[in-house]
Amino acid sequence: MRIARKAFVSSSGEGGDVLRDIAFTLAHGEVGAFVGPSGCGKTTMLRIVAGLDTEFDGAVARPPGAIGMVFQEPRLLPWRTVDDNIRLIAPHVDEAKLAALFDTLGLATHRAHFPGELSLGLARRVALARAFAVEPRLLILDEPFTSLDQPLAVRLRDELAMLVDRRPVTTLLVTHDLDEAARLADRLFLLSARPARILAEVPIQQPRAARAPADIAALKAAIARQQPTSG
């Protein structure tokens, strides 16, 4: 098993540290979820892991190969169709695999549409499809389901869980939603308010598919005990 090790210490933004002494390691195929209050520097951390931000002290070791990323906003090319948006990023994608991906995400009928014609929920699915189409070794998800209504967020979350189980990929998920983290992660990291530090690391042994709502509730209760300050 290959180990993806990422560790960096302290990133100084304006007026003090955003992140402090954050060090963690994810095993190959492991899904790590970071949960913390909004504005605590989760996105900053992801940008560093993704290599978008190089102004920090420390080191990040990424697994070799492609990175797939889902930003907070879909960030699609509005002047290209859904199909082209994915093919431009993943030119060597296998046609059958792409069709399966579109099917899983319920996008099969939207391939010829432009992003402007899609609802936010659909656009987020396209962004998800794009991240999976590159067959990433590292998948980075930045609050992928925010500002969606609850039922839709739950459905997309389940679709994501299915995709991750089908093709194991080292995944880094950032969210402020404990439900989401408890449903998706193999390992939970609780972050403090800014400057963000890791308060606790909670491994989850139960496989994703077997987690019932009751298990997730129990998990959340256990986490709430460890993180008394978060609301």
Binding site: M69, P78, W79, R80, D84, I89, F114, G116
Partner: protein, 245 residues
């Protein structure tokens, strides 16, 4: 249609003006049309129109290519912007006539000097427009292209260029009309053919009919380029906007 009505009003005003000022000062549409026909029959019209059009297209292409490249660099690299800005200001405020005369003195009465002079006149406005576009590029899409390791050329073609397109279209619009007006000056001063050259001769003879015949013919050519080339291209490139959500 309102456009047609407006055009009819233009011709009516023209005819009225012609009858008031006399054929010598302002020949009517019929006289000008027959002059155009006469020049077309002798082939001279197409020769001169062709020469002017070739110069317009060459100078336009040159200015747009260099202007896009420089504008892009200046819009994205602050140091290049500070370095290039004074030059840009000088170029912007240099009168077209000065550039043309200097080009002919330094380069001789050659085709290269003529086209370079026109291109230099168009260049600064192209740079300024494209620079605005480059400053407005979406950093989010840029990051997306970087994370997914999109190759440079593909990023330029599919991420950067579509964002620049409205600015390029604006530069092309104003550029085409500016370029053809300066080409006429260049031809008047130092070329043995083209619409500007013909107008120069007509000026010496006070032949208003011929001046109008050539001017209107070329205006028609520019309008045709605009309607059949620029507009369809623009529609095609912005079709993602037109469809309702």
């Amino acid at each position: 249609m309102l456009r047609l009505l407006s055009l009819a009003l233009f011709f009516a005003t023209w005819m009225l003006g012609a009858s008031l000022a006399g054929e010598q000062m302002l020949p009517g549409p019929v006289a000008v049309a027959s002059a155009i026909l006469g020049e077309a029959r002798s082939g001279a019209l197409f020769l001169h129109l062709g020469a002017t059009l070739a110069r317009v297209l060459l100078a336009f292409a040159l200015a747009m290519t260099i202007g896009t490249a420089l504008g892009l660099v200046m819009g994205r690299v602050p140091a290049a912007d500070r370095l290039g800005d004074p030059w840009l200001l000088i170029l912007l405020n240099l009168p077209a006539l000065v550039v043309v005369v200097l080009a002919y003195i330094w380069g001789g009465l050659t085709e290269a000097a003529a086209i370079a002079a026109v291109a230099v006149n168009k260049l600064p406005t192209a740079i300024v427009t494209v620079r605005e576009g480059a400053r407005a590029l979406d950093p989010g899409l840029d990051e997306m292209a970087r994370v997914f390791a999109m190759p440079r050329w593909r990023t330029f073609r599919h991420v950067v260029l579509p964002q620049l397109f409205p600015y390029l279209a604006a530069a092309a619009r104003t550029g085409l009309s500016l370029v053809w007006k300066i080409v006429l000056v260049v031809e008047l001063l130092g070329r043995p053919n083209g619409v500007g050259f013909e107008i120069g001769i007509a000026f010496q003879l006070f032949d208003v009919t011929r001046i109008l015949a050539y001017a209107l013919s070329f205006t028609a050519v520019v309008l045709a380029i605009e309607t059949f080339l620029v507009q369809p291209l623009e529609r095609r490139a912005s079709r993602w906007r037109l469809r309702p959500a």
